[in-house]
Symmetry: C2
Subunit: 229 residues, 2 copies
Amino acid sequence: MPTIARELAELAALIADPGRALILSRLMDGRAQTASELAQVAGVTPQTASWHLAKLARQALLKAERRGPRRLYRLATPLVAQMLEGMMTVAATGPQAARPPARIDAQMRRARTCYDHLAGELGVAVTDAMCQHGHLVLDHESGELTAAGTAFLSGLGVDLRPAARHRRLLCRPCLDWSERRPHLAGRAGAAIADLALQRDWIRRRPQGRSVEITDAGLTAFRTLFGARI
Amino acid sequence: MPTIARELAELAALIADPGRALILSRLMDGRAQTASELAQVAGVTPQTASWHLAKLARQALLKAERRGPRRLYRLATPLVAQMLEGMMTVAATGPQAARPPARIDAQMRRARTCYDHLAGELGVAVTDAMCQHGHLVLDHESGELTAAGTAFLSGLGVDLRPAARHRRLLCRPCLDWSERRPHLAGRAGAAIADLALQRDWIRRRPQGRSVEITDAGLTAFRTLFGARI
DNA sequence: TGAACAGTTCGATCATGATCGAAGCGTCGC
DNA sequence: GCGACGCTTCGATCATGATCGAACTGTTCA
């Protein structure tokens, strides 16, 4: 036991710096960013950011790749994103007193991506609508796409067949830290987010991981999904 | 975004101290411990432990309750345990180089509880066996108990009916940090762990969260479940 | 009521690690 | 090649927070 606890502490120490937390939070949309951009996000000089990034990469939380003279950083694995999401859920639930909901950024609360799927009010609304229409069964620990749900997504052009051998196990509930209710994650969730980006229902904002819901998106989510958004 | 990142950093800082990490790790079996015991676990004096415990309780990671002159501490919610498990998974996967498997305590690797379900070699073996016998379908992001699986557990005296309205969504895969493969969690996993404790197949060790597999347990897991353990 | 014990608060000390200026290294475009 | 630019390394400084001794609080039991 001592060993895993020590490694746990080391990992936590890595996230415990405000600058590094900002960097990790920024990278949670799964995209890669340059060191300069991340320095700006963290609010520190490039050298300090470089020091942070090296530390995060050395401990395998980040992965670096060169693109010309620039260096791009991204989360090392989806597992890291999942871990951070779990931590944010606890962090947001935190000390009950000290949480005026206003402290959570409004755009983030409205709609964002959580590594590869939709989150925020949008993510929860889409999830709720799919549950109400019998496309999805979801509780706090597990989820299942129904036959109707598979057909529904197929109708939208989402092809989930490659995972047929997985027996419809494409769903994972992900507790939304801003809404404090589960939204749809897993392969099905990622497919819906991809669809929304492709059809320009949502657009990534240049900085941050919040997304903008387009007018077409608002219509689509309401009419196609029946989402109350 | 800045706000949630700051809270993320604060939360991480709470776990980043080796002593507090040891305390949290110790409490991950879901049971409550006295302040003195936790001081010993953390390897610090009672005053220091008290300071740590107060800090953890103030930030709602722990819950304290009086039992006579003693004060018992436990994890505030299952969500905290789930978060810690997620962090341990990443921590154990960590820097590929620095991980001689021997660094993980042998007893912990063999069998332990992960808040309310079985983990370690035992947890994975039971999970694998149930999958092989068609009692369970599990992938890395979702799980489902089959009709055969429900019948199997019923035959062992495990009653999962109260959750019938949940449509068999009782399973959650939990990535085992020592085995690096998923084991069964969720209500079904908790029920199996309860059964094993009640029938004295496993016994909690006085300190740590590792469990001892009894001779009867070894037989039971092998013959009833078909586990290769 | 008072002794005994679990736990907490306070204060001083000390170590760890974040920060930035300056300098160095690699890569690309001319 | 050479200059420019993005990024990293080095060194000195400084702040945060973990630690323990000592004293205090609160609960139980006689």
